[in-house]
């Protein structure tokens, strides 16, 4: 049977990818963050799953205001890194896993999650930067990927609880897949940050710490945060944290925290990273 081995939560700040792509990680601004990545990458090097479900959001790249979906599963054979306005990132093409992706679509629909499906999703920094954080700069990504794109740009967005429940249903779908493979799931985005407006640059370490602590020990507490509270306490873009709830919901009741990173600033963001093993 397919086995979900672990989850990762990580911010997906485009600047991290740009620093790597342009060979700037040795600069003083970046050294502490990339030193922190060593622990995380050490774990990933020993725990590469056959397939990774990456929960991310599109940033006006594939989806725009004319059409968008709340939850989209990428069922393609592969996903091209997108041109988001400064050219495509020179990173490997992301290889999909259409069989498992379609199983997820079928299972989730049966559980009343009405998923949008995309065969030609182009993936932006929301998905490729976490791959770079986990695997550095390989010639091809070591895991196949099922993109799960969540709308966190246009309000109304799915609730924190809905994201958690979707994760739980994904956990059940993986457990019911009769193939001997390992699966990982990543929740990306966050932590506290606000990019737009006169309040740009606001961060909230106390809120972030509570979110990370609850992610381990009391994940339901993170499902009770309203959108207005996220915006107020974690910044308008901090609401991306709801995507971590999908990851956490999939892992089941108990998890073991393997490592945690927290660093301010990465661009205008509080960077957070965590690895949780399923128990």
């Amino acid at each position: 049977m397919a086995r979900l081995i672990a989850g990762m939560g990580t911010s997906h700040v485009p600047g991290v990818g740009a620093a790597m792509d342009n060979g700037k990680t040795g600069e003083a601004y970046w050294t502490e963050l990339f030193k922190g990545f060593e622990t995380l990458r050490g774990w990933h090097a020993k725990n590469v799953p056959d397939v990774t479900i990456i929960v991310f959001n599109d940033h006006a790249t594939f989806y725009a205001l004319d059409n968008y979906a709340t939850f989209t599963l990428g069922v393609g054979e592969e996903f091209q890194p997108a041109d988001e306005g400064w050219g495509r990132r020179q990173v490997p093409i992301v290889k999909g896993h259409p069989e498992l992706a379609w199983h997820l679509v079928e299972s989730l629909m049966a559980e009343e999650f009405d998923m949008a499906v995309s065969g030609n999703l182009e993936v932006d920094h929301g998905l490729t930067v976490p791959l770079s954080i986990a695997y550095d700069q390989p010639s091809e990504w070591p895991t196949r990927v099922i993109p799960l794109c969540v709308n966190v740009i246009q309000h109304p967005q799915p609730t924190a609880l809905r994201c958690y429940k979707l994760g739980e249903a994904i956990g059940r779908a993986i457990a019911s897949w009769d193939e001997d493979i390992t699966v990982g799931i990543w929740g990306t985005g966050g932590l506290s940050h606000q990019l737009g407006g006169e309040r740009a640059g606001v961060v909230n370490p106390e809120f972030d710490k509570a979110f990370l602590d609850n992610l381990v020990a009391d994940p339901m507490a993170n499902t009770r945060i309203s959108h207005a509270e996220f915006i107020r306490e974690a910044g308008a873009e901090g609401i991306e944290m709801i995507m971590w709830n999908v990851m956490r919901g999939a892992l089941g009741e108990k998890v073991k925290e393997v490592c945690r990173l927290y660093h301010i600033p990465v661009s205008a963001t509080a960077y957070g990273g965590i690895i949780l093993e399923a128990e």
């Binding site: 006006a60 306005g85 006169e198 309040r199 740009a200 606001v202 309203s226 910044g235």
Partner: protein, 137 residues
């Protein structure tokens, strides 16, 4: 379900914050779609050659056009743009995003000043949670 006045949202009380909801969607639809078009290299080239001519393809308001020409980012947000869309302009200009964040800040900050604020731990949440708190602050 609790009743709600058409033009009020719970987060309207958060200062210096522009949320892309149904209201800004309607106000900024064409402006945002114009920004989005800059994802394509050929559109970026065309825009670079003649910004005003390129924008004629989009039924934006004159105010929106002027704010684009001026790179007046806070005005763009006020006119319905979302920051992920205005990003496309910053990228087109080959500027680091901190330039935009600084220009939107109140008071305005230069690139270096914004970087320094972030290196110092970011903009504090205290005093910035609500318009009321800010006034008392």
């Amino acid at each position: 379900m609790a009743t709600r006045k058409p033009d009020i949202r719970e987060y309207d009380d958060v200062p210096g914050t522009y949320v892309l909801d149904g209201r800004s969607y309607r106000k900024g639809f064409h402006l945002n779609m114009f920004c989005m078009s800059l994802n394509k290299a050929e559109c970026r080239e065309e825009f670079a050659k003649d910004e005003e001519a390129y924008m004629k393809k989009y039924p934006m308001t004159d105010e929106q056009r002027q704010a684009v020409l001026d790179r007046d980012y806070i005005r763009l947000l006020q006119l319905g743009a979302n920051v992920y869309y205005t990003f496309k302009l910053v990228s087109h200009d080959r500027q680091p995003p901190q330039v935009m964040y600084g220009k939107m800040s109140s008071p305005q900050l230069s690139f270096d000043e914004f970087q320094q604020m972030m290196l110092g731990g970011g903009r504090p949440i205290e005093g910035n949670r609500s318009k009321k708190e800010q006034q008392n602050g």
